[in-house]
């Protein structure tokens, strides 16, 4: 009960205190309330701001990372492309270099080969020199031949003259014209006269030889080809003294006809075969006709009949193709049918330039 009494004492105080405190509290309630609201408001705003800040930071972070990622990806592509282009350009440059060198080499070697051209021109001039010298030699040779011919002709003439005037030779008693006693040595004409044989009257023989020539030419007998008979030696007046063989024997041995072996004989290109071939032309000239072609003889009139060549005659006379026509005839083109070019004026058109002689 004591406690209770104490408590009741206190109670009064307590009630007063209570009342005072509550009155104080009540009096400050509004301000405290407002303050509390303010503080809370401020704090909540801070919290919200912090939250918003946080949010924006997060958004920024996300965007930052995302954009970075995108750009890095894009950048990798760009880098790849740039690298690729750089590689290509490099290759192009190198290819240009190679092509440049190759084309220069090729053109210089094959198309506009200057050194080859130079060599060719030098070779051409060398060849020209050679050809010129050869032609010069040839011309000189021809000139010499001409000169030799002229000289020989002159000599022949002089000899002929000497033979004709053989009677001018000096005898033992009378000196001739060319052997004047006042001269120291005889004239060269005198020497020539001494050497030459007198020209005899051979008119008949000359005449007959001409007729002979005429006779031989139309018959076209063999031109002298090679020695068929042994040459006749003049009859020996005195047999030469000494261990000489019989000249006939010697000649026979010298001109023994060739007897080749079968192997040589069979060759087409060996000289005897070729020599045999030389008669080909003769055979063309006198194929079938055994008759000689004699001028002005009655034989000619009686037996000479025209025989056409074999290659042109057919079974029923002459074949038209090969002689009369070689190609298709075109009658419209013939001018032979057109009448009389002569009756119109004939102006003599001289159309010959090189006269064949």
């Amino acid at each position: 009960m004591a406690a209770l009494a104490r408590l009741q004492e206190k109670l009064q105080r307590l009630q007063e205190e209570y009342f005072l405190t509550y009155r104080a509290i009540d009096e400050e309630r509004k301000t405290k309330y407002k303050a509390a609201v303010r503080i809370q408001r401020w704090f909540r705003a801070c919290r919200v701001r912090a939250y918003l800040r946080h949010l924006s930071k997060m958004a920024i972070l996300i965007q930052k990372w995302w954009r970075g990622y995108l750009r890095r990806k894009y950048f990798r592509e760009i880098v790849e492309r740039a690298y690729f282009i750089k590689k290509l350009e490099f290759y192009n440059e190198m290819a240009v270099r190679i092509q440049k060198m190759w084309r220069g080499y090729y053109v210089r070697k094959y198309i506009h080969n200057f050194s080859a051209l130079k060599r060719y021109l030098e070779a051409v001039s060398l060849n020209n020199e050679f050809v010129r010298s050869e032609l010069q030699e040839y011309a000189e040779m021809k000139e010499n031949e001409e000169k030799m011919k002229d000289l020989e002709k002159k000599e022949e003439e002089e000899k002929y003259q000497a033979r004709k005037m053989h009677y001018l030779l000096s005898t033992a008693q009378i000196p001739g014209i060319y052997n004047s006693p006042l001269r120291k040595s005889p004239d060269p004409m005198e020497l020539l006269l001494r050497k030459s044989k007198p020209l005899t009257h051979r008119k008949q023989k000359m005449g007959s030889s001409l007729a002979d020539e005429l006779y031989c030419w139309p018959t076209c007998e063999k031109p002298p080809a090679f020695v068929t008979t042994l040459p006749l030696l003049p009859a020996p007046r005195q047999k030469p003294q000494g261990p000489f063989r019989d000249p006939g024997e010697v000649l026979r041995q010298r001109y023994k006809p060739l007897e080749p072996t079968l192997r040589v004989r069979e060759s087409m290109n060996s000289p005897p075969a070729k020599a045999r071939e030389a008669t080909g032309r003769e055979e063309w000239r006198s194929p079938i006709h055994d008759n000689k072609f004699l001028p002005f003889s009655s034989y000619h009139k009686n037996a000479e009949k025209y025989e056409p060549s074999i290659c042109n005659s057919g079974k029923y006379g002459r074949e038209a193709y090969g002689t009369k026509y070689f190609r298709e005839v075109n009658p419209k083109k013939w001018i032979a049918d057109k009448k009389n070019h002569l009756e119109s004026e004939c102006s003599a058109v001289s159309s010959h330039e090189n006269q064949p002689e």
């Binding site: 001039s125 050809v131 021809k142 032979a336 002569l342 004939c346 003599a348 159309s351 064949p356």
Partner: protein, 486 residues
Amino acid sequence: MSLRLAYSAVSGRGCVKISVVCLLRPLLLDVIPSVRQTVALALGRLADHDVEMAEAVVKAGILPQLICLLPEENRYYKKTAAFVLRAIAKHSPQLAQAVVQCGALEMLVVCLEDFDPGVKEGASWTFGYIARHNAELSQAVVDAGAVPLLVLCIQEPEIALKRIAASTLSDISKHSPELAQTVVDAGAIAHLAQMITNPDAKLKRQVLSALSQIAKHSVDLAELVVEAEIFPVVLTCLKDSDEYVKKNGATLIREIAKHTPELSQFIVNSGGVAALIDCIGSCRGTVRLPGIMTLGYVAAHSENLSMAVIVSKGISPLSACLIEEHEDHIKAAAAWALGQIGRHTAEHARHVATANVLPTLLDIFVDTRSSEDLKMKTKKALKNILQKCTYLPALEPLLHDAPPNIMKHVIGQFSKVLPHDSKARRLFVTTGGLKKVQEIKAEPGSLLQEYINTINNCYPEEIVRYYSPGYSEILLERVENYQPVL
């Protein structure tokens, strides 16, 4: 009596006309062969002498009688008949046509098959005269089957027969490529090529002429001729003593060279150009002409060949030709050939210009006595050479006397070279070229004015003013108007 008449007619010279022919006509059918022969000889001589007599002979209708029994006659008659026919045929194409119309060709072929060389000669001579006139007559000769027989005639040993056969083949093949091909098909080329080495000059003339007539028509024929291995034997013909052999040899080489560059190359490689140049140098007159044309053709094909011609010393004979020759067509050919040599590159033009050719060409161009053709060719040649010529010392003399159309090219060349070469500019001034350029009057806007402007731009202005005409007057005027500062 008949004989006497015939003999008198033989010696008569054209004063007797148709009456003689009518008198002789019945004698043609006389019994005695020597009368027939003499009559034929008389007719031949009459026809040979005069065109009118030949016409009279044809009009009198003698020809069919002359040749009707020809195969059975003797060889003297055949020779004389051939003589008559060719005496008639040589005058004009119409007479030759008359000869062909009366069926002479078959008889002549019969004569060609004869064994006697004289008869063959007469027959082939007649064929030659007939074929010479035009292509149709040649075709008629070919159709008669003469060509293989002529080729056989060429192989005969007699020189006269070979000559005539070669000349006939030449006359046949000159008209058209088909005729030439017919001659080639008969195997003529090989035999003709063999005969080039024959020593007889007249034969060589005919053979070379025949080969050149064959080769001129087409590339294939020319190649066939070349394949017969005529080079280098043909070059010995260019050294022959006979002028016409040289001329025909040069003609043959010309006909071969003009077709393709390969053939020209072949000729150069075998030394043909050197032989031709020597030949041109040693001849005078028309004989040179084919050689000059050959050089022109060879140089025209390509620049390497042109350089080969230059290297073989080709320019000096050509310029000698220009100066020495009197005939216009030879000068024109030489000018053309020089133009072909010099037109390829600057190098070629320089060689031509250093040979002092340009003033000669200019003189010929300006000369009033030159014909139109010569002037045109010289002008073309000058133009071609000048367009490539960068050798200024040779262009200097041209500045002073050229007519305006040539001057344009000369100034053009100067305007191309002067901007790049300082030494040349100095030389141009010291030799009086700049002075001359200032004196030229050209229409503004024309090409010449542009060139002159280019040249003037290469020099400082004072120099150009110094050299312009009338500068001394301008200076004197300035002296007059000057007020001295006291």
